[in-house]
């Protein structure tokens, strides 16, 4: 096979068999040998050198597996938090003493306590008549912090045919109650064997 007849593919095969590295000497040698492929050889040596440098050099874009897994866990935790399956622990100090009593009353009434039943329960727990305004404000605050949730009853099942608003404790409320039970004697006594 003469040099003139050799195709570019044959030249490449020959080059890969003979050369170990894309040096400038090798490029000059091959350009002299096959001047008709001068430009192709320059492009090939360039890309060969670049690929070799990329393979030998430090990893410019390493995969930080730790970071990826951390992000994955963070994403999953956020989803669970949004779904209400995970609740950040609430320090008992954030829930006022009166709110703790109201929360306990809601818990003890097991989702069947309306405003007045809760007021009566709080009155029994603290040993004196509870203030109506304070109970309303406390229920509002607990609701705003997602410790309790209201639900309206079916009017057909109520004596006067008028729907009533009942409250039930949510997961965050139970966490707060568990904290309150440790710090408050009244709450601990009221909860007794319940919690």
């Amino acid at each position: 096979m003469t040099k003139q007849r050799m195709s570019w593919q044959d030249v490449l095969d020959e080059l890969m068999l003979e050369e170990n590295a894309p040096t400038s000497d090798a490029l000059a040698r091959w350009q002299n040998r096959y001047p008709q492929y001068r430009n192709e050889l320059v492009s090939f040596f360039e890309s060969w050198a670049a690929r070799r440098a990329a393979a030998e050099g430090p990893d410019s874009d390493p995969i930080d597996e730790e970071k990826l897994s951390r992000r994955g866990v963070e994403f999953a935790m956020n989803m669970l938090r949004k779904q209400g399956r995970i609740v950040d622990p609430v320090p008992a100090a954030e829930v006022k003493p009166f709110d703790q009593l109201v929360l306990t009353a809601v818990y003890l009434l097991r989702g069947q306590g309306d405003d007045m039943a809760i007021t009566d329960k709080v009155s029994v727990m603290q040993g004196e008549e509870a203030d109506l305004g304070a109970v309303f404000e406390s229920l509002s605050r607990l609701q705003r912090n997602a410790y309790i949730r209201p639900w309206n009853s079916d009017p057909k099942t109520e004596p006067g045919g008028v729907s009533k608003r009942y409250f039930t404790v949510m997961l965050a409320g139970e966490h707060a109650l568990a904290e309150a039970r440790v710090t408050s004697r009244v709450v601990a006594e009221a909860l007794g064997e319940f919690a």
Binding site: D114, D115, M116, T119, D131, L132, G133, A134, F136, E137, S140, R141, R144, W151, N152, S163, K164, R165
Partner: protein, 345 residues
Amino acid sequence: MRTLLLSVVEGLLPRAVPKSYLQRLREYRGPAWTFFAKVGRLLGCSYRAQVFNAFDKYVFTASMALIVYCYGWVAGSKAQALFVVAGLLALTLRDAWAHHDPNDALAPLAERRYCIDSAKDAAVVLISVLASQALLLETSPEIALPQAALCRATAVFVPLIGIARMALRPKPTAQFPVRMRNLSAETLYRRTWFLNGLWIAALAGVCAMSSTGLANNPWDFLRGGLILPSYSVLFAIQRRTLLQRTLVVTIFTNVRKLVLGDRKRRVAAGLKKGELGWRWYVAMHIVVFAQLLLAVVGQLSPWLSGEDPGFTRPAVALIGLAATVLSWRHVMASNRAAARAIEDL
């Protein structure tokens, strides 16, 4: 005496307070001073709780900005401060009284109640402004507003505050009218596009009204020339036509479904938080409505400052603002309903 007091308290207590509280007070047979203390505590605590529940930073900021804008042209700093304080106090108390949780699916409030409440808000704040003016006339007449200036500012302020509160008050998502649910997907699609066209025309009309009419005015170009491109961007973000284009017809293809599927991608069905392009969607909303507001401000300012005595242009601008801002939720609901109808095929 107690019955009379309780009937007054019944009207004063926030709407969210259940009737059982009043019933408990009616049944109370203790000493009179304890009874009055209980009534006072219930009023105070319920308002305090409802003020927190009802507070909305956007509504509050918009209300304050509107009072400053409308009365700032004609009032001195002291009078303006009094108007701001009186207006915001009145609105805060009014919000506490009327607050209803829009997420309360068990006891939803009709859409018209939100509109009526907003109109009443405007009336309440008007009364507070007039009371402030009366107070100024009594105590410091030198800083009280001239009658003509007060009328000018109030004529603009009352509709503006009503529109702002109607638009910004937290509401449940707009529902598509029941009577239109029987329409075919094609009819819904056509009507939605007609509605979109009307809305764009109203928007462009309000913006075009604010042009100065001077030749080669760059402000005119910015006000009139940017509104349609920015609306187009807002529209394009929601369509996602680049993501899917599958108009490949074979012998087994349901052509109606295919054509409607392609039409669905031409409807601005809106984006949810976290979806691709959400930030651009919010940003383009701000850009579009900011241009609308700038155009309306351009119409109202000459009237407020007294330069232009004619009320026709401000009135038309206010009507245009009300029509575009208040119908936006329904235009979006219509687009969503059209997309859903096509999807359900």
